[in-house]
Amino acid sequence: MNTTRRGFIKRAGLATAGALTFPYILPSGRLFASTGIRKADHVVFCLFAGGVRNLETLQKAEGNLMTYTLPGTEAISSDILAGMDPLPAATGIPLQLQGSLFKDFRYKSGPTGHFNGHTTAITGVYTNTDLDIKTNPEHPTIFEYYRKHNSPSQTALNTWWVSNSLGPYPALNFSKDANYGAIYGGNHIQPASIISLGGYNALGNPKVFTNTQVTAAKSMRTFLDNNFANQTKAADAGVTNAESEAAQIEGFIQQSFNEAVAGLYNDPWNLGTAMNNDMYNIFFAEKIIQRFKPELLVVNMQDVDIAHSNFTQYCNNMRKADYALSHLWNTIQSTPGMANNTVLIVAPEHGRNLTHNSLVDSYGRYALDHTNDPTSREIFCLILGPTGKVKQNTVFTNPQGLGESIDIVPTIADVLGFYSDIPLSYRNKMGNPLTQAFI
């Protein structure tokens, strides 16, 4: 093409001015778009619920233990029925009918350990036996992919990891990968420790400073920081929230303390003694959803892991996890901004062995471990979402397995529209988006 210097400058100038003057504003209010088109503006991923076998979930070997999720009225096995806590009877449409169910999902590789399973689900890459539980994962987490590649980039306030226990789990909010790391991490919270009597005693009575006082203290801190060469590195401080957003989170924690002190958390779902740790974790995740409306939230439940020593309580806790899951979906669907604009993905981190161990509970049932046998790799994945976006009442089956744990991260990235923005070198390590579930 023939061009003159003057013509080139003119065209370049017009193009730049156009880009500055007319940025593309999406209907959702986002300025500029990632390469992909969003299927929804929010994703909630629930790790369900500490190692469950398809035998007791989808195949209903002990009756329908998940009446809120699975259709059917199969009675619970009479020999363990007395060990079940009373829960409200399920009403409404079972969750399965509101989305797509992958019946033959697989955790195909790596040890069937809880942390391995969580790490795989959150990074989209299978772990090996050398997984170091004392440090952050080797591969980037979904939180980092989201914050680095979503456009426009979002703060940590928009992405949460709500874990129901400590141990290695807090380390899953960002990785050691040099191209990602803490600056792209998600906020992690373990509510059971913080919103507790011990938490309240230690953190519930902070000095309240006025705005003027905060400014004065900040001037001192800024002066000191400006004269200190060795600034705190991102990884030292964990995930860092901007000052105004940190203040919002502090306010949220303080409000939670106040509500707990007022007795509002004693039995928030009116379930009496049935309320367990999983339910509290979901309850708190709902608080975060209602307060911050995050675009990405990952929450887990783990109380079914009592199966190592008590099969009957494993079934009982599965029912509670089912109830909590339904409660979570109802909260999402009744939260303005997230209702009909959220995809909920549900998957266990792994299954459990076909063969029981030697422990027997008071109902005469043998307990179950999870030690890499084929049954401990059989799981399911349920994807719920808006009609018109997610296929409703659809079941995918394939004896060889359809879908794997490593498909969840790319699926989340695809739903939020930034999957193709992830560098190929990283995408190649993951599975694939579960596009079958979407219209």
């Binding site: 940590a156 990891w161 400590l166 807090p170 909010n173 991490g185 998600g186 906020n187 992690h188 919270i189 373990q190 509510p191 420790s193 913080i194 011990g198 938490g199 005693n201 230690a202 953190l203 519930g204 009575n205 902070p206 000095k207 309240v208 400073f209 003027t212 006082q213 004065a216 203290a217 900040k218 001037s219 001192m220 801190r221 002066f223 000191l224 920081d225 004269n227 200190f228 060469a229 060795n230 600034q231 705190t232 590195k233 030292d236 401080a237 964990g238 995930v239 860092t240 929230n241 940190a246 989170i249 502090e250 924690i253």
Partner: protein
């Protein structure tokens, strides 16, 4: 005439060159004169950015126990340390958690914080003691000047706020 001109033209540059050389020597003499150093009112001070001597980040338990000792003048109990360490690990933003811990310390009974009158009575002494207490060093002249200015420019600032600012600074996180 022509000859004269020629001889003049030869002689004249030579004279000029000599003159220029003399001028150069004079100028060089002036230029080489030792420059005088003037000191206007204050002495020179060496100002360097601190931090080179504090390369390590305090661990969670170090941070909590040192902050407690600095604020209360006593050792934190093992139970309290365990509880706070647990809470620390239960939230991903460590800065936010440190801020919460410090604000709760500052609001608890038994804090050892000088009064505002003490601070204003001898601000320089207060600052030197505060730097030594929290940062294990004396402030340099620039820091003393800067922090004194902060205190003198704001009548609402209290020792508690100075403590709060210091305890949440980057340097306090290091040793």
């Amino acid at each position: 005439m022509l000859e004269y001109k020629i001889s003049k033209s030869v002689i004249l540059p030579s004279t000029l060159l000599k003159g220029i050389f003399v001028c150069f020597l004079l100028l060089a003499g002036v230029a080489c004169k030792k420059e005088k150093t003037y000191v206007y009112g204050v002495n020179d001070v060496t100002v360097k950015q601190e931090g080179a001597n504090k390369p390590s980040v305090k661990t969670t338990t170090e941070f909590i126990s040192i902050a407690y000792a600095d604020i209360f003048g006593t050792t934190i109990s093992a139970n309290d340390l365990t509880q706070l360490s647990l809470l620390y690990s239960a939230f991903g933003d460590k800065k936010l958690m440190e801020n919460l811990i410090i604000k709760n310390f500052l609001n608890a009974p038994g804090t050892q914080i000088p009064s505002k009158a003490q601070m204003l009575q001898n601000t320089e002494q207060f600052l030197k003691e505060t730097y030594t207490k929290f940062l294990n060093r004396t402030p340099n002249e620039f820091e003393l000047y800067g922090t004194k200015n902060i205190i003198q420019a704001d009548t609402t600032i209290s020792p508690e706020l100075i403590y709060y600012g210091m305890l949440t600074s980057n340097e306090y996180r290091h040793y």
